[in-house]
Each structure stands twice: as structure tokens, then as C-alpha cells.
Amino acid sequence: MTTFERDPLYQKAKVYMARALDEDRDDPHFGLLCALSLEALTRAALAHVHPALLADPKVDEGKSLLHAFGFPTERPISIPMKAVVARCQIVVDGFDKSDADWTTTIIDHRNTELHSGDLGFANFPTALWLRRFYRICSLLLASIGENLEAFLGPTEASRARIMIDEVEAAIVATARAAVGRARAAFEALPEGERENRARREPAFVLFQHDEASTWAECPACSSQTRLIGTVHGEPDRRLDGDTLIVRRTAVPSVLVCHVCDLSLSGYQVLDAAGLGGQFTTEDHWDAGEYYAELVADGRYVEDYAEYMNE
């Protein structure tokens, strides 16, 4: 038996999941154990195709590949998770880029927990990720000939199916209907009107301090428009000379297309329309101006104290 085989990886995924289910759902250890389980499950999905898909071909002149083909070698090295996730997009039916992004997100939180003093799952409530986690698990399980019942046990599997199936069906219907209406209305416009609208600039919106925006492709008219998200967790701030670099990670919350007027609200609806996941923005500020704004917003004292402690 090699290190990269499907069965031991799948068994390990089940063990981590069983231990996760022993935890309260709002306990950070629940998320960490789910993340460990997910990593083992993604690797099992690749191993199910062939163990060689997990072997790192670069280290030590590819000796890990020899291990994957059954030749005894010392300390075989497996590919990093980034490569695992990329390969799952190819070999796992239904595992698309948004699933890959989500898997990476969960693994990033695991890395934060394991590789730093920060609490990787403390500000990451299950409302944000558990349904998607179970959906990704169901895809991976199907690819290796297993199912949620075999993985989670009947009780948790039934909860997971409620989260995946019922919510998903209604939300997908809502999202599709909205996109369909907006697309039909836009395509019914005279060509000249469509061109005029395409030249519009997105309306300037004053964001709350917990909002951020990024460019996204409208699912109805394919125009590049602004996607607004809600920032979770504290921004990452770094001073570079007189410039303050502020990085914020946000979960999509609203899209109003300035070209076709499609309006989608709520993460699950956006996710169903292919606009889910998370995004990160990086803004450069004059440090003085930034903190002047915070004074006006009433948050100066708290943030200044944090800045001085960095």
C-alpha cells in the first residue's frame, strides 16, 4: 500500500469528520477538523483516479512518482493543496472554479490556524461555509463512489442534504429567474440603446466601513460591473512610507448592474448566479487622510491604538 492510495485517505477523511461532528458547530475546532477532512477527501479523489496524481514530480528527481507506482522509496512527497484543488477541477465532475476557490478558502483558514498565532476559524461562522463545504464533499464523494451517508452517518447526512438540496433549489430558481428577466429585457432593447448603456459608468456609491467592491461580470449581459461585498474580520493594514495599504476580504452581498439593471441581493443568490466565494481588495491611502476619515466615523481611537501596537 502506498502513501497516496485512495482508501487510507478516505478513511482519514472520515475520522476527521467524525471528530468534527463531536464538536459544537460554533467551536473553532469544528472548522479546523472539517478542513483537515476536506484536504484528505480532495486527495482521495485524485488517488481514486491514480495515486500518481498526488506525487510531487519535482522533489528528489521525482522519486515520489516511483512510490506512487509501488516502488519502495523513503519519505514520498505529495503535491501542495493548490495543485490538488486545481486537479480536482479537472477530474471531479461538477467541481468548478467557484468550488475550487471555496476549498482554497477553507484550507487558507486551516493554514492560518496551524501556521500562525491567529485563530483561523474564530470569525468564520458556519453560516458562511458549511453548506458549501457539504456540497463540495458530496461532489468529491460521488467521484470516489461514496456518498454523504457513508461519510457523515445518516443523521448528519440528512441535515447536510437539507442544507444543500432544499436551499439550493429555491435559490437557484430565484437567481435564474432574475438573470433571465434582466437578460430578456436587455436583449429586447434597440441595439443603439444597448450600446449607450454599455458606455455608462457605474454609479458612485458611498460604502459603509464594512463594505468593499470589486469588478465582476454580469451574468445577464456579460458587462463588467461592480460587485459589492460585506467585509468580515478586521482589515489588514500596513504602512509603506506615508502610504497606508489596506487589504479587506469581503463576501459578495449585492450586485446592481449599471448596464442591464440586473439586481441580485444576498450571498446565496449571488452564489447561485456564479458570483459567490470571497474577494479581497487592496487600497492605498494617504495615512493622514485615512485616519481623518476614521475620526469622522468615530472609530479613530480604537484603530489608532491598533496601529500604534503594530
Partner: protein, 223 residues
């Protein structure tokens, strides 16, 4: 020459059978009719001699070290091997002076429900007592057939939630039909180790201590 299809059928259905075999013919010859004999430990021959051993004389890591000369609890052999032997072929050794019975319990006939089977297939156990522990389940479907592993001495639940599977199996086992095999010279006992648990009965009479069995592990021809 392979085992007659009728005997194979009986073995597959009941989980064990008794067949005649001349005392002066090596046990290995019978074992080869089932598949490939394999040693129970590296560097040894394929025929093991099993004696009743007091705990103080037993080697660490053996069943005798745990249970001494008394009853051996239900188990399948080599449950902590990555690939346990498919068959056990055993007979009374020529040097044996006693014949403590062996108890047999076909696990595929103890009335497991569909839910029991799902739980046994889902619950993960850690195989210990070897240089390279690994994770496995008490029931799997290797080569399209149900295959059991059962030995609480070397299979431990990998998470507390999985303990329930062993308890469910043991509840069914307690109500199963136990067969008692009384050893006779000139016969071999063949167990399908994938579905049949066995146990050594308690002391029956004073000659028990002199029981010596020959045993061969066999890997199935199709594996």
C-alpha cells in the same frame, strides 16, 4: 487440483467446512487447493504450530500473551494485516494429545440489518500492533464480496463515534448460531476468514493443554 466446486460452494455459503485429509500428507498440500499459502510471520514457513500456552510463557504481542491458556475471544485472524488471509486451514497435529474444541461463528449469518452493514462499512478503526498502523473498517466489500475484520485486541475505533459499530456487531454476534468443532485426526477445518469468526473454547478436560494444531494461512487464488 483445486477444491471441488461443491466444497467451495459449502465454504462460501456456511463460512467453514470440514474435509478429510490424510494424516501423513502435509497440510500445505490441502491449502494449495484453495490458493497460495502464505507465512504468518516473515521468514517462517507456511505451517504454524499452535499450542496452548500459559500467559507467563507466551511471547509479547500474541493472543496467548493477552488471554493465556483460557478462552480466546471471538476474532478473525490477522485482522490488523492490510490483506488478511482469505482462508485458514487447520488440523490436529500428529503430536497433539488433546482436542479443545474451536467455536465458529459465520458473521454473514448473524442477522445484520442494512443499517448495521452501513455502520460497519462507515466506521473507521485503527489497526494496531504492527510497525505501520493503518485505518480500516470492520466490514468492507473487497472484490465484490463482504469481508469482515474483527479483533478488539488489534482494531480500535479511530474516533469515539465509531465504537458503536463494534458494539452493534457484538450484539448480533451474541445471538448468532455458534458451531462447535471437535477436532479429529484425519480431518481439516477450513475457515473463510473473511466471514467467519472463531474462538477457542474454555477448558473442557485435562487433556486440553496438550492440544496442538497445525495452521496454514491461504491467500485466495483470485486475489
Amino acid at each position: 487440483m483445486g477444491l471441488a466446486s461443491s466444497l467451495l460452494g459449502e465454504l462460501g455459503d456456511r463460512g467453514w467446512l470440514v474435509a478429510p485429509h490424510p494424516i501423513d500428507v502435509p497440510l500445505e498440500a490441502f491449502a494449495r487447493r484453495l490458493g497460495e499459502p502464505i507465512p504468518s510471520r516473515p521468514g517462517r514457513g507456511v505451517v504454524d504450530e499452535l499450542r496452548v500456552v500459559q500467559r507467563e510463557h507466551a511471547s509479547p504481542g500474541t493472543a496467548s500473551f493477552v488471554h493465556g491458556a483460557g478462552e480466546f475471544p471471538w476474532h478473525t485472524d490477522a485482522a490488523n494485516w492490510p490483506r488478511p488471509p482469505a482462508y485458514l486451514v487447520m488440523r490436529l497435529a500428529a503430536s497433539s494429545t488433546g482436542g479443545r474444541p474451536t467455536l465458529l461463528l459465520p458473521l454473514h449469518r448473524i442477522g445484520l440489518t442494512v443499517e448495521d452493514g452501513s455502520m460497519l462499512r462507515r466506521s473507521v478503526y485503527r489497526a494496531v500492533g504492527l510497525r505501520h498502523p493503518f485505518l480500516t473498517t470492520l466490514l468492507s466489500d473487497a472484490d465484490g464480496r463482504p469481508t469482515f475484520r474483527y479483533d478488539p485486541d488489534c482494531l480500535v475505533p479511530a474516533a469515539p463515534a465509531f465504537q458503536e459499530a463494534q458494539e452493534a456487531l457484538e450484539r448480533r454476534m451474541s445471538g448468532g448460531d455458534v458451531a462447535t468443532h471437535r477436532w479429529q485426526p484425519g480431518q481439516v477445518l477450513v475457515l473463510d476468514n473473511r466471514v467467519t469468526a472463531h474462538a477457542r473454547s474454555g477448558v473442557v478436560d485435562a487433556t486440553d493443554a496438550g492440544r496442538v494444531l497445525e495452521r496454514v494461512y491461504v491467500r485466495a487464488s483470485a486475489e
